[in-house]
Point group: C2
């Protein structure tokens, strides 16, 4: 019998926990009824969790609840976290990986704390000096991986090359049949553009391009992130975070303006009757819940962070992401990709 | 008699020059029929320009055509520009300011070349060590100024403070009745977030806040750029360029997806009949041509760069911007704002 994929979930993390977390799990279980290759461990207050499970009438063959007393509070800072967060549901859902009880950990709790305790418990991978936060980004052709989204405000060329290898590994774990195209985010596409760090990274990635890990597409500008031609977009955490949030703000501004325009008079309201299904499809395609789940890469085990305010559907997508990247052998892919760097040194 | 506002236009710069430039001017003249406080000088091939003027039947009381032989080519790089661009239409439209023949220069030509020769001809303002490229950005409450959009990939705290003062001056020249709110683009809103340069800039801007130039709003994240609460958003040219282009790319992705959704079947197409005027208003509000025109700040004279590929309406908006910022006394506002820094030193 092959080992089952084991997902450790911090059931108490997030604004709507544990209710939405367990509702999200319920959706995941229903959508994967025929599969028997996984098991989910829920960490948190057993009494409350069991009540929710009962309410939803979940078949608990594929679930195990592990009782923990504490919960990481929203007020906790990364500085106080290590002292105050031991044995919380978040802590134990990560520690499960060290104990051999889980392949991946998922939490919708406090990001800063999750980052600090993940790093403390799982430790950095050999040869990786900075971990990265990778996210999924919608594109014309499907979905891209963008990293770093905010773990490191300053990065050198070594970090950016690690990110390229780890991001490619992540992409391959999600889309096993594709060889990823990697691009470096910059303010122009000519080779001479950008900071010294970017220029050095560019020339090293050019050397690495075409091996079995990825193809290097060169520089990419902000307006091309979503055109789908690059699958892995690499940048430092400061720039990545600005790009991500600017894109979110722009999307919100546009959809708010559109909503306002379409509800301003009787004709436009009437038009909504006819365009209902098309607009629903438009909305669904761009539903941010589909991209819920940022992945910490570079530790000796994968940790997924769900948005704190997401609902059951958003949480479902982040569980699904956990399942897919373990199924796709993420850690093996990362180690394999990074080993190419050793050879080249 | 007060001196007229004199706008020097590079008639030959841009993909659709001189046709669209002169059509844009025609729109400007029609919209400002009742005003007699400006004059426009067109630099370029007199024969071609005169033909276009004749075609449009423009009353040329308010126009003067200044013949120049050369045109800056698209292939020119900033490195070769100084040697090869002398006496082109772009060059002469900027030199006009030195000769006392113009208050402001406008070109839709090669950006890199425009930047280099503007700096060479007009020279940097005393006490400003780096010029900035400022742009207009749509917001929920109207329009904001964002700078730097790409002139400097690395900036120190002195540069960012200069940008805050110059950006505020620009905002006040466009909206004379408002005292601008300045915010610093960062990856979090807490005071301890960000790079050392940002932290130093934050504390200096906090000291400057509340004098007559601007109110300092603190840090702003990418998703808040368009909420209209800050009127001047300050960042280095690398980050600003990434944010601008990511916003453009996101807007294009969304509107393309929407168009596709609304034309996919007979019902959604029918809905367009009813929503026609509302969607037109939506489109018009967000029309990028309304924000056409980036302003080089920090030189001894203002230079406006129009998008190279814009049409007549886009070019009209950049002429209108030139008129408004001179009417609003931009250079005086900048000098006045910067003089506050001397006092504080």
């Amino acid at each position: 019998m092959t080992k089952k994929i084991t997902i450790a979930i911090d059931a108490m993390g997030g604004e709507n926990a544990p209710k939405k977390n367990i509702e999200g799990l319920n959706i995941f279980l229903k959508k994967n009824k025929s599969k028997k290759d996984f098991i989910v461990h829920l960490y948190g207050d057993k009494k409350i969790i069991d009540e929710e499970i009962l309410k939803l009438n979940i078949n608990n063959d594929l679930i195990k609840v592990v009782h923990t007393d504490g919960v990481v509070s929203d007020e906790e800072t990364p500085l106080t976290a290590i002292k105050n967060s031991k044995n919380t549901s978040m802590w134990n859902s990560i520690k499960a990986q060290i104990d051999g009880d889980a392949d991946i950990s998922l939490s919708a709790g406090n990001t800063g704390v999750l980052f600090v305790i993940s790093k403390m418990i799982l430790k950095m991978m050999k040869d990786v000096s900075k971990p990265a936060l990778a996210g999924l980004w919608p594109s014309k052709k499907g979905m891209s991986v963008v990293l770093d989204l905010g773990a490191n405000i300053e990065c050198n060329e070594k970090n950016l090359i690690d990110f390229s290898e780890m991001g490619s590994a992540l992409y391959k774990s999600i889309f096993p049949s594709e060889k990823p195209n990697v691009a470096l985010l910059n303010i122009g596409s000519e080779e001479i553009k950008g900071t010294e760090i970017l220029k050095k990274t560019y020339s090293e990635l050019k050397n690495l391009s075409g091996d079995e890990n990825f193809i290097f597409n060169g520089y990419i500008e902000g307006n091309k992130i979503m055109n789908g031609e690059s699958n892995v977009i690499v940048t430092d955490g400061f720039t990545g975070n600005i790009a991500l949030k600017t894109a979110e703000g722009t999307a919100k501004f546009l959809t708010d303006s559109l909503k306002k325009s379409l509800s301003e008079n009787i004709f436009s309201k009437l038009s909504l009757v006819f365009s209902y299904f098309s607009l629903k499809k438009f909305k669904s395609k761009l539903d941010p819940r589909k991209y819920n789940g940022a992945i910490f890469l570079g530790l000796n085990g994968p940790v997924v962070k769900s948005h704190g305010g997401t609902d059951a559907i958003g949480f479902y997508y982040s569980i699904d992401l956990c399942y897919r990247i373990i199924k796709g052998n993420l850690m093996h892919q990362i180690k394999n990709n990074l080993s190419h760097l050793d050879v080249k040194d």
